[in-house]
Amino acid sequence: MTVPTAPVEEEEAKPKEGFWPPTETGLGIIAAILGIIMTILPFLPSFVKAIGLTFVLVWGADSVRKTSRYGLGTGVPSIGVLAVGYGVIGAIAGMGIANVGGDFTIGGVEVLNVGVLGGVAIAALIGYISGIFSNSEKFISMKIPGLERGMTELGVAGTLAFLLESSMVAGTLKLDAVLEDVFLSGAIAFMFVMSAIGMFHPFNACLGPDEDRGRTLLLSFEISGLICIILGIVSIALEAEWLGSLGLLNAALLILYGIVVWVVFYAKFVRRSFEASYEVVGTGLIKTVK
């Protein structure tokens, strides 16, 4: 004999009222401030700059998300590649300005470099102007709300990402030194592709009816971890001499930071996906974590 049980009322899972995810503007302000502080202080060790890089890439991914939500017509990757296109131009211009002025050197170590911010400003201007052209009725007329702001943010995020990556490998922001380190080794091509992937891949992979902003941005964290691992290996290969005897330690800490970020955020992302799904059934090929 079975006893009828009262139907259990399932509680609606409330979205967590925590720090994550911050509002779009909040994330932009946090990432911009962190990114700019880490960029203008080239003497910081690589793994500290990597924190700035992580936030800048997450900011870029958020901007890609809010502009691509309405449908671009050409696929999400296009706007991420646009961001690195502007980013590489802005970064070269900024480092060119840094080459002639705006830096303060104490005892042979470049402590502060504000010249690069000129390049950031130019990239923001290019992004804003192309946003106006893209949205204007008289020109491309894409009619996407907030495209001007999105493209400006993408230009700034792309530029900051390139500047941070270059200074992580070369330890300086002067164009001649960066060209001889980052460009000669070919690391720039890797940066070009991976920065774009860090920005466009999260939304490109997660878009759809059940897209969740907090979960999408976790993917961007994970990709920034991958970038840090490989940049650490590049630093070792280039014998990152800019910190003197601490060069190897610096690169090792960067790799460690990358591995930790990658593992933690990959696990977080998978867990969030499992939580959002109706049921998780294993195929037997991979052990189910739940």
């Binding site: 050409t74 646009l82 131009i89 211009a93 390049g119 192309s130």
Partner: protein, 259 residues
């Protein structure tokens, strides 16, 4: 920095950007519908196609550019410029031709559809009828003759523009003699890498703005969307000019500032 050199860089970057934009409007891009065989064009995005073609063009152009010595700061060279730009155009054409050919083979032998245009009743070049071969409810299939020829011209223009930017940036914005402390081979490599990445960045920006103008898919110059071209050209000219300004600033900084 020499004002004439700066002007040359600016003009060549703007011309390269405009050619990139024009090229994007002429290559047959099908996007997601073409992946299901229900629209004319190659089944991928504009960015992937044009960037792939331009990068192949940059490879051929940079190979040909190694045959010529770096010109002196105030020397304007004509023949090497044209040869390098043409070799870039040929590289881009080859890449796009193979892509279109194999896309067509997949459509014809794999999906079993006839390459046919969805926008015109009669092929404007070969005068072949199109409408009877089109599956109802679709927008054409594969890469028909007119789109193939349009794609050739587009890849030629895009590759020419990309290689033009590359040659000017390599020899006038980031020339090898700016790196005297490196070995000669390394100096050439640095110069080529900086020019290549900067040219790729400018090219991508222009190609993507043009891709937004055509809304992601186009069949070629016979497509009604081609009439939107002037709007993209104006936008690309302004954006290219700003990008050219960035490169001039970088080059000015690399040369140690000053007039």
């Amino acid at each position: 920095m020499d004002p004439i050199t700066a002007l040359l860089i600016l003009v060549c970057v703007i011309v390269g950007g405009l050619l990139a934009s024009l090229g994007v409007h002429m290559i047959p891009v099908g996007g997601a519908p073409a992946a299901m065989g229900t629209a004319t064009g190659i089944a991928t995005g504009t960015v992937q196609l044009m960037f792939g073609a331009a990068l192949t063009g940059l490879f051929t152009a940079s190979t040909v550019a190694t045959f010529f010595p770096t010109p002196k700061p105030d020397e304007i060279v004509g023949i090497p410029l044209i040869l390098v730009a043409l070799s870039g155009a040929v590289g881009a054409m080859l890449m796009l031709s193979f892509t279109m050919l194999f896309a067509n083979m997949l459509y014809v032998f794999g999906a079993g559809v006839v390459p046919v245009s969805g926008r015109v009743e009669v092929d404007p070049i070969t005068k072949e009828p199109q409408a009877p071969y089109k599956t109802p409810q679709t927008d054409g299939h594969g890469v028909p003759n007119v789109s193939y020829i349009s794609g050739w011209i587009g890849a030629f223009l895009g590759g020419f523009g990309g290689a033009l930017m590359y040659f000017v940036l390599k020899n006038y914005a980031f020339p090898a003699y700016l790196f005297p402390e490196l070995r000669a081979v390394d100096a050439e490599t640095v110069s080529a890498a900086a020019a290549g990445i900067a040219a790729a960045g400018i090219f991508v920006a222009n190609a993507i703005l043009s891709a937004y103008n055509i809304g992601g898919t186009i069949e070629g110059f016979h497509d009604p969307k081609f009439k939107r071209l002037p709007k993209a050209l104006i936008s690309c000219a302004v954006v290219s000019a700003l990008c050219g300004l960035c490169v001039i600033i970088a080059s000015w900084g690399l040369m140690g500032g000053g007039a």
